[in-house]
Symmetry: D2
Subunit: 200 residues, 4 copies
């Protein structure tokens, strides 16, 4: 007889940030809810792959029923700008900030210094090529200010080297993030904050 | 068209300890794995209710195919002792400790001071009645050393009042837990540690 | 007979970030070291006020034996720039960053939203007046990116309003600090990071 | 010219739990208070060695003006019990618990597994010898439930081996400390909690 509790716990252990103990707790939680709730969750997971599709232009996952997602389909957004982000949630964070009106491309990951990770290189080349025909002027590398983010940016600059004459490549501005205190800020952040000071 | 990403995220938000952000991350994680992995998880969740059953004597969830779970079915365990725990994971912790050889009953929850929570009161009465016929001598209240644990113990003592002449009721010993430092220990723990000192 | 342990502990409780328990620990630490070590510490504390003096131009505390501190006395530093910081440690952090070559002024505190705190307003006016005569062109408000820092910057802008025609006032650049991840960045930081993006 | 700020900061770095950054903050804090406050602190530190004395029987530091501290001088306390603690604060914690009425001895440290640390071995032998003449029946090893505490207890048992026939040696009771949850408790704590269960 098989160990279903253990099997399901091991499946949850593959979820991001979930250890064996919390995975077990998820199983017992599911055993404590109604069969209808379990059936509903099971169905949502079974169908999420077909209910949600990946936009062929920005590669993000979207509920949209058209071929393109809402941002890629929106004719009012600025075709001159293409912002590259690591993942769907980063794109959502930029949208919440509310000032960016250009296009997006989701890399689907970062490259670690130890050589792990993968990004959508082939899709990136395809999309940049396509967007150059639509007036693309600037690619914004919107990676996290971490060593992995910088390593990934370096790789993208290599990939985009053939287009450098036709398109600007920029990176997000560095400086004091909300809540930063000078005393605890590192030298790189302070140099950027000084260089990027703004008249008020 | 419905928002499937949001629906699935909301389902994960009901998991213990999971907030909106991590729930979203679970959804994107599932979108990034293979359809076969999603199908497997979906099926495990759909069937966990029927694959796993609740032992009618200790009420824990078990993979066992017999009517009783392995501990309740084991004739070598001591019928004189019945330990009451809050949840399946607490039972597993006691088994890992390796010295207890009596029987168990899983309460399925705790009662909070604000009146929330529920325990399996009717099953408890039924099981205690049944076990009295099999030589039960002592019921160990193995609740956590928290105000909720004490509140739950109080309620159980009320429920078991009619049996007090036929069965001893005990609670787990208090004292220094592994890692406790005297300077940071509260008065109650220190009083228990002094009262329970052991000759060595 | 007086409670010297308690008296000394209460004196240490006034140290920044020190609670009653750690204050007590400091006292017992001092009781455990040699009398010579205690005498040395006692003397350093007694004399720190006279051994260290406050530079009359930047107001920072300095070991310097001249009237001015090393930065204010250095003829090679740029008189066109004056950076205002909250405290001596912030000035030290900027120096460690290594790119700033202008002058400093230490405010000696921040103003809280609840009306607490104080800054060296009179000295600021005096020093700005003096520095205008030496070619001052820009005042950099180098406060922390916190609500207190912004509140203090607002007050300084008020104080400096009479000089606005003769001097630029700037604030440190905002953006991604080292280690910032997009997903967890607030909208204000992301807007600044997008607006301040740099070609690479 | 000497670096007084750095010298005083390095003196504070020797305080328990204080790193370079907080030590610097202490110095600037002292520079910001009045000269009278600094003089007062300086004097308290200079005199703490003579104002406070170590009780020759329990070895704790005390403000008392008699030769013995208040606990050792109290004729009402039970001479049959002697509790050994690591440090003065542990003794204070036991007193706050309010049930112990015996005598104390402060070891003045713990022995680490790597061979560091020291305890007052000679004073311990002297005091135990003296207390045996006054009716001592039991020595309670009240060390923390850590590997260092156990290592120290082992060493004390060695030292006290010659007295084993005339005096009982006990250790504090182990079990659930206040706040302990079963699921997160280690096996040793759970075994002690089960073995030490109490009828209620």
């Amino acid at each position: 007889m098989s160990d279903r509790i253990g099997e399901l716990a091991r499946a949850f252990e593959r979820f991001p940030g979930i250890g064996p103990r919390q995975a077990k707790r998820f199983v017992y939680h599911l055993l404590s809810v109604s069969g209808a709730d379990r059936a509903k969750l099971s169905e949502l997971i079974a169908k999420i792959g077909s209910d949600v599709h990946q936009c062929p232009e920005c590669m993000r996952f979207s509920n949209g029923n058209g071929p393109l997602c809402a941002y890629c389909a929106d004719p009012a957004r600025d075709d001159a700008l293409l912002t590259l982000v690591e993942k769907d949630q980063d794109l959502a964070a930029l949208e919440r900030a509310g000032t960016y009106r250009g296009r997006y491309f989701v890399l689907g990951g970062v490259l670690t210094l130890s050589g792990k990770g993968a990004i959508r290189e082939r899709d990136l080349i395809r999309v940049v090529g396509m967007r150059l025909g639509r007036g693309l002027k600037e690619i914004v590398l919107a990676l996290s200010a971490t060593s992995e983010g910088e390593h990934t940016s370096d790789r993208i600059r290599e990939l985009l080297a053939p287009y450098r004459e036709r398109v600007r490549i920029s990176t997000l501005g560095r400086g004091l993030a909300t809540g930063s205190e000078l005393e605890y800020s590192d030298a790189e952040t302070l140099r950027a904050a000084l260089a990027g000071r703004k008249e008020t």
